[in-house]
């Protein structure tokens, strides 16, 4: 890591690490009476850790000029490892929160282990930890390959990756301590939000600087999506997190918006976090790794254009479908519903474009679990966008809202689409990055595939059942015209489905662990080869560059 930095970059990195250590000390001092103090210690440890790593590698030989004619893949490799680590952590917490609903005393009467505190650890862990690291890692890879340009420097990608993971660690540890602003999927407090803005600006600059130096005249589709992801997430994040801290030494802040305006801003953010974090970014992945792995060009350029601008324009109107029949003015609800239904067009255009790309490669889908991951992801993308448009219709929403149906819908997208496309892309990318011709075990890829698919299906079916039963029980009247069921009766009816959901989630978690093991072993395989080459067969050195199957 340090060896790939130039001396100037090493000095800059030390300066930045020292700055973080200083911020950490300032936070710990100013927040010594508050939970913020502990968060300051974490920032300090990150800064000191950076300084130690840099100091140890400071006198390593500098990278030579020949680096400028190669792609810079070290941050991508680190991002893959971090994403898999977060996947295991985030999904473990997911199984735990799921189990809490069936067996509520699994909190051991500890404040940090109660449902309300560990649920955001699960959601942020998988969305930001797993998903975000996967997006950063793959975007650096795709950006360089499709632009035929190296990243602009060696320091800023590391700043983005490490700064982003500091954001994730502060967020997750904060929830356990009770630091949250209660905005779903935007729970971190003001100082963590500021950190993310800084990281994001650098991320955007890397993107634009690389694109400006590209040797391809056209910007490839995958980059449109990655750019939309970076830009729109920045807009959403900044607006939704506008808040006033009660003091510089305390974590607590108050959102500037209140009541109905806050609800609208929150779900404008919340729905478009789904759109631009969990959809646009991962469509970027799909548009690169699926055609690469299938060995087929994208089916239709025209469909790509329509679906990209359709998604970018229409999604931003759809958030108000989270607020049907509430105190939000009806005209906004109606706009949200209308645009959500129209949104099916570009969504299915994307899913169809992906599946049509596989025409002529279906035998590969049958034989290759990696490509099958991507194919199933495209199918689940199509299914969950259809379900989403359907649930946005006011009459349907009156039944589905507030129930587990919503949870099932989210997981059809998150497990079936987001996680599957990521695993598929990783299984394609890992051998390329570590210069192998295949994964450590293709059998284990197959095992992971079936665990993930079975887990997703069990999960989604359990939540469809529980959600619809719950919704119906709440609105059932008996003959005398009064409500037939008490709330607690509807809750008791959920018990078997909550157990089934935890079981489905557990299968998915086991799959992720198998995947992490397989990736770790592939990396080990590569390491032992490199050391073998250096000691025994130095003459084979040039051949290494040749083992890049799809580049």
């Amino acid at each position: 890591m340090v060896a790939t930095l130039t001396t100037n970059e090493r000095q800059l990195a030390m300066l930045v690490s020292a700055f973080f250590a200083f911020i950490g000390i300032a936070m710990a001092a100013a927040g010594r009476d508050d939970v913020m103090g502990m968060q300051g210690v974490i920032v300090l440890l990150f800064g000191l850790g950076g300084l130690i790593v840099l100091a140890r590698g400071y006198y390593d030989p500098e990278p030579g000029q020949e680096r400028l004619s190669q792609y810079y893949d070290e941050p991508t490799k680190a991002g893959i490892v971090l994403a898999m680590a977060w996947a295991v952590v985030g999904m473990f917490f997911g199984v735990w929160v799921a189990a809490l609903l069936a067996w509520p005393d699994l909190t051991f009467d500890a404040a940090w282990a109660s449902f309300g505190r560990i649920r955001p650890v699960h959601t942020s862990g998988v969305i930001f930890g797993f998903g975000g690291n996967a997006l950063i890692a793959t975007s650096f890879h795709v950006l360089q390959r499709t632009s035929r340009a190296r990243l602009p420097d060696q320091f800023s990608p590391w700043f983005v990756l490490i700064g982003y993971n500091l954001f994730c660690v502060l967020a997750a540890s904060g929830y356990l301590m009770g630091i949250t602003q209660s905005k779903e999927y935007a729970e971190p407090e003001w100082y963590v939000d500021i950190l993310l803005v800084v990281v994001w600006v650098v991320y955007f600059l890397i993107y634009i600087r690389t694109l400006q130096r590209r040797k391809e005249p056209h910007i490839y589709v995958a980059n449109w999506y990655y750019m939309a992801f970076i830009l729109v997430v920045a807009i959403l994040h900044i607006v939704n997190n506008l808040a006033l801290p009660i003091s510089w030494g305390q974590a607590k802040s108050y959102t500037v918006f209140s009541g109905v305006q806050d609800a609208m801003v929150q779900w404008w953010y919340g729905h478009n976090a789904v759109a631009f974090f969990l959809t646009a970014g991962f469509l970027g992945m799909l548009y690169y790794y699926l055609p690469k792995r299938a060995g087929r060009p994208i089916f239709s350029y025209r469909l790509s254009i329509i679906s990209f601008w359709g998604i970018t324009f229409l999604y931003m109107w759809a958030g108000s479908h989270h607020l049907h029949y509430t105190a939000l003015p009806q005209w906004v609800q109606t706009l949200g519903m209308t645009f959500s239904v129209v949104l099916l067009v570009p969504s299915w255009a994307s899913a169809g474009n992906a599946l049509a790309t596989l025409n002529g490669a279906w035998h590969k889908v049958r034989d290759d679990a990696t490509l099958r991951f991507m194919m199933v992801a495209a199918v689940f993308y199509g299914l969950s966008t259809f379900e989403g448009s359907f649930m946005a219709i006011r009459a349907v929403n009156s039944l589905s809202h507030y129930t587990d149906w919503t949870v099932g819908h989210v997981h059809a997208g998150a497990l079936g689409w987001v996680a599957m496309i990521t695993f598929g892309s990783f299984y394609a990318l890992v051998p390329w990055m570590w210069k192998q011709d295949r994964m450590y075990s293709s059998k284990l890829v197959e095992v992971h595939f079936w665990l993930a698919l079975a887990g997703t299906i069990i999960y989604v079916f359990a939540m469809w059942n529980s959600g619809i039963i719950q919704g119906l029980m709440w609105r059932t009247y008996n003959d005398s015209g009064t409500l037939a069921y008490s709330f607690i009766e509807s809750m008791e009816a959920m018990h078997p489905y909550y157990i089934a959901r935890a079981a489905g989630g557990l299968l998915f978690l086991i799959g992720a662990i198998v995947g992490a093991y397989n990736i770790a072993m592939t990396i080990r395989m590569a390491r032992s080869q490199v050391s073998g080459e250096e000691t025994d067969l130095p003459a084979l050195q040039p051949a290494r560059a040749a083992v890049q199957p799809a580049e």
């Binding site: 056209h218 305390q250 209140s258 350029y301 254009i305 999604y315 931003m316 003015p329 645009f339």
Partner: protein, 243 residues
């Protein structure tokens, strides 16, 4: 279109500007008018602000993530109105920074839970929900009773809220700590100021059953008991529609 787009694809900056432009329209059209159209939030002259103790309780509700399982938004549907009470009005959360409408009902809606149960019921329920509702899947919150409430910084909380437009007076801010103490200790000299500043109807009592230092339990129960009772606007609206 393809010719135009082929040109656009060749300019990174052009593409960036196009994305920002296209993505901004929806939010601008839907959000900006909510601040300017006067009818978005109803009038409720009787609406009062949270007392410092209730606000502290609300912050505990936020801290523990209660909103993940409990909504505070009764929709305009017959079964919801019959189950929970008059549907929620925008004005009822006009001082809520942030709103806690919620998105999921693993447990019941709490928009009108205030006054529905006794303080003792809430305390018992929070210590172990299964003692009072055997089938409940809610976590236990026993430590709320053990934790002393932090009251020394409540003035700062109120001041921040005032900056954001909540009508706290300078007097309320200056007495925030003493009011929080007084609201949970009716026999103390601090109690009189609470009703003076927040109205005669304010609940002033020992919420957690244990007089003396205010606990986090005091604050959370005080908050739960005021839910849906800051204004009568929703009940008045319901009566009007019935007539």
């Amino acid at each position: 279109m393809p010719t135009f787009h082929r040109k656009l694809e060749r300019s990174a900056i052009g593409f960036v500007l196009a994305i920002i432009g296209v993505a901004s329209i929806g939010g601008l059209v839907e959000i900006a008018p909510l601040f300017t159209i006067h009818e978005t939030v109803e009038e409720a002259p009787d609406m009062r602000v949270y007392t410092p103790l209730e606000l502290a309780g609300r912050n505990i509700y936020v801290r523990e993530g209660c909103y993940a399982c409990h909504s505070q938004m009764i929709r305009t549907l017959r079964d919801e109105v019959e189950r929970y009470g008059p549907f929620s009005l925008a004005v009822e959360s006009q001082y809520d920074h942030p709103m806690l409408w919620g998105s999921k009902r693993t447990g019941p809606d709490l928009a009108r839970v205030g006054g529905k149960y006794s303080d003792a019921w809430h305390v018992a329920h929070l210590i172990n929900p299964r003692d009072v509702v055997p089938a409940s899947v809610m976590p236990r919150y026993g430590w709320l009773q053990r934790n002393t409430l932090r009251v020394d910084d409540l003035g700062r909380h109120l001041a921040a809220q005032r900056t954001l437009g909540v009508p706290y007076t300078a007097e309320m801010i200056a007495n925030a700590t003493s009011d929080a103490y007084g609201q949970a200790n009716p026999d103390s000299p601090h109690a009189a100021g609470v009703t003076e500043r927040y109205g005669q109807a304010t609940n002033v009592r020992v919420f957690d059953g244990d007089p003396g230092r205010p606990t986090e339990m005091d604050a959370l129960v005080a908050y739960l008991q005021i839910l849906g009772r800051l204004t009568d606007a929703a009940h008045r609206q319901a009566e009007r529609t019935q007539e």
